[in-house]
Amino acid sequence: MSSQHQAATDHPVARLLPWYLSGTLKESDRRAVDQHLATCADCRRELDELTALRAPLKDAFTAEPMPSRSIKASVMAQIQAARAAGPRSTGDDSPRRVGEAVEQWFRNLFGPRWVPTLAAALLIGQLALLLWTAGQQSPVRSDTVTTRGIPGAPVRVVVVFQESASEARMRAVIQTLQGRLVDGPTTDGRYTIEVGPSAVGVVEAQLQALRQQTDVIRRAERLAP
């Protein structure tokens, strides 16, 4: 039996020599090895061999920088276990986490599905109300002009008939204006006709229509107030 094998079998403490060499033994184990080495030559030789191997082994493993398979497997297993456990609160109240909490609170406000639907319903309702309100107003007809406000003073127009105009046609003109003859004929053939309170635009439209009757009307003008 070799001295090395004898050291290992007879001296269980010898199996702690690699860690005694690297200085990673517990205090109790280190003291036990110290005491044993003081009295065991075989173990001292074993320690010398390990010391000689230490540097070459470090160099050999340094040349292969790949991590230990078991260490890599252990780290990966811990990572997978952490992922399976889910996120944990670390109790860190840094401003970044506070900001994230505030952001999450706002997100939660819009999280429920009914929020966008409610917003859309409110918009549609407002649009419908606007359209209904607009529809309640009286439509303005383009072919009539309505008078507003306090009825104004009667309007007078001056009409000069053609000399060939018959009396019947002249009376028809006055009826068209819904007026009454208040003056005329003057020496230059002017008749002053008073029509009821009307908007200026209405009177002008009527006068324009009369002017089209050139066989009866020579001139038709609104008399300035």
Partner: protein, 67 residues
């Protein structure tokens, strides 16, 4: 060079344990936890791995001396 050659002759299990002890310098308790084996098994495995390494180094040295 001799050590690297000798290491390459060892089983993956022995190479692994020697790396953890001499390169990573992990305590034997940590190695036991890492490999999920008893602490005594760690100590025994290191002992035999070192023994095998020594044997392989002697063979390499013997071959080179012949050449």
């Amino acid at each position: 060079m001799v050590t690297r050659l000798a290491l390459s002759k060892l089983s993956p299990e022995h190479q692994e344990i020697l790396r953890l002890v001499f390169y990573e310098e992990l305590p034997y308790e940590d190695i036991a936890t890492l490999l999920e084996i008893p602490e005594n098994t760690v100590k025994t495995r290191v002992f035999y791995a070192k023994q095998q390494l020594k044997r392989q180094m002697d063979r390499v040295i013997a071959r080179e001396s012949v050449l």
